[in-house]
């Protein structure tokens, strides 16, 4: 029997376009120390550090964790770096959890980050390769045709994306860490924002943020000890990762098979047969508003072609029966290399009952989800207030 794993510490930075007042090591240390203090631990209690971030070109530092070893208290310890494109820090959290689950380490610190103010995501994501035409304008230009295809297939009303953006940005107003706090956002302001990549409007697009997110994971004894002191752990019920090729003929990029398989696996492992009923809250990687209904279907929360109905019916709102992204989601904060771990960690905060004003009452089982590349890399976990 594999070891049970508990998340006992969580720390994050305030997300912002340019943090400005900290260095790269300073940014990571802020998240790390907040997680350690939440866990009532110090670097001395940590056996291993597992880090993840998006491509090295973003910050212009190759294998940046090497110059961060001392800053992360990892001298003489293992440090491990995961990179799975946009899903990276979800995958990073999973690798960290497996080091505990496999009995290799007792307590692990994991951190995902991005300091996007070092460069511009648009530059790093759209390097002009020789012999090619520069046609696809950033991630939005890549994904917009698939969103259009989803709208056509499902017959979703045109304003579904507007509703998602409005909901997530309003949720962000309850999250002090969120990058965007648009107090005067309205349905009309989203609707009237510039159509960047029709059908994606400016206000339906994720920002570029500086930020870091850290978690402390420990074994069953450590989780029990925290619980005994009244510090509710988030118990990891299941983890899963799936990948598929970017350009496979016959691949459905609107609802990719890898996403379906990953969800099916994580729910099965967690003993969940009806995710719509059994999941209390989900933090799902929605970088463009329309991905909420798309993922609702892909994850099995809704039948194909009907995900948008849940959005319109308010099911995914804070007071709905399946709140999606009460943190404000990727649409409100997006340090790319941390965005996956933020989803995982916000899910954990919910089942720990420690999500502050964004807490969903009675959340006891939550999904964290991340995806990346050409909608081809997936990582997910289910966490709960109770031991699995």
């Amino acid at each position: 029997m594999a070891e049970r794993v508990a998340v006992v510490g969580i720390g994050q930075t305030k997300y912002t376009a340019t943090r400005g007042d900290v260095s790269l090591p300073g940014l990571l240390r802020e998240a790390a120390f907040r997680a350690l203090e939440d866990a009532h631990m110090t670097f001395d209690d940590i056996d291993c550090v597992v880090v993840g971030k998006a491509p090295d070109f973003f910050e212009g530092v190759m294998v940046p964790e090497y110059s961060l070893v001392s800053a992360l208290g990892a001298v003489g310890k293992p440090i491990f770096r995961v990179h799975t494109a946009g899903s990276v820090s979800g995958s990073t959290a999973i690798v960290a959890s497996q080091l505990v689950e496999g009995g290799i380490h007792g307590t692990v610190l994991t951190i995902g980050w991005e300091m996007q103010s070092c460069s511009e995501a648009m530059w790093a994501l759209s390097v002009t390769m020789p012999f090619q035409q520069q046609l696809v304008a950033g991630a939005g230009g890549y994904f917009a045709p698939y969103i259009r295809q989803y709208i056509a297939r499902s017959g979703a009303p045109d304003d579904t994306g507007i509703l998602v953006a409005l909901k997530d940005r309003q949720n962000a107003l309850l999250n002090p860490y969120a990058h965007l706090h648009e107090h005067d956002i309205t349905y009309e302001s989203v609707r009237d924002s510039i159509m960047l990549w029709d059908p994606i409007r400016y206000s339906e697009t994720c920002p570029s943020s500086d930020g870091a997110f850290a978690m402390v994971m420990t074994n069953e004894a450590g989780g029990d000890a925290a619980a005994a002191e009244g510090r509710q752990p988030a118990w990891i019920h299941a983890t899963a990762m799936r990948s598929e090729p970017a350009l496979a003929a016959g691949r459905d990029q609107v609802s990719p098979q890898a996403g379906k398989d990953c969800a099916a696996s994580v729910f099965k492992q967690a003993g969940i047969t009806n995710p719509r009923k059994e999941i209390d809250v989900a933090e799902v990687y929605v970088p463009f508003s329309w991905y909420e209904p798309m993922w609702l279907e892909n994850l099995g929360f809704a039948e194909e072609g009907t995900g948008w109905q849940l959005t319109h019916d308010g099911v995914t709102a804070r007071d709905g029966d399946l709140p999606f992204n009460p943190s404000g989601g990727v649409l409100s904060s997006n340090p790319i290399g941390a965005s996956g771990m933020i989803r995982f960690g916000e899910a954990a905060l919910q089942v720990r009952g420690m999500a502050g004003d964004r807490q969903i009452d009675g959340a006891r089982k939550a999904l964290g989800h991340a995806y990346g590349g050409a909608a081809q890399f997936y990582s997910m976990w289910v966490v709960g207030s109770d031991k699995p």
């Binding site: 260095s23 790269l24 090591p25 670097f43 070109f57 212009g60 001392s70 990892a74």
Partner: protein, 158 residues
Amino acid sequence: MSDQPTGQAANQAADDDVLRAPLLLEYPFRRTTGPVIGAYFTALREGHLVGILDDSGRVICPPVEYDPQSGKSLTKIVPVSSEGEVVHWTWNSMIREGQPFDHPFAWALIKLDGADTPIYHAVDASHEQMSAGMRVRARFALERRGEVSDLECFEPAN
């Protein structure tokens, strides 16, 4: 294991048949410094060098935000001299783009007076001048902007 190398059998082609072209990756990366690294570059702009006190009372130059061994936060910026001693050095005659000079020079670990750990930097001297134990001093740029280039290099002190 197989006895023979795998080779690249499937899509073999002669060198000159295959297209190639320069791929340019260029960006002026911006790095926010935080208060410690910021203090170092502020001091450089003012024509000085500074270090930071670590857990055991050593002066580390250039300063870092954390104790290199324990990772604990460091906060006390202290002055160090612009002069010091070469601890170890190597000779660089294959100059590459971005390096401090376009003529051969030394890379050295230099223990500045008042510091307990050496700084890694360039020394503009002839090969004959270089030796462990030699005295060097900082050469600052005339026009300083709070950037890496404010400290041009070190040079023989005598």
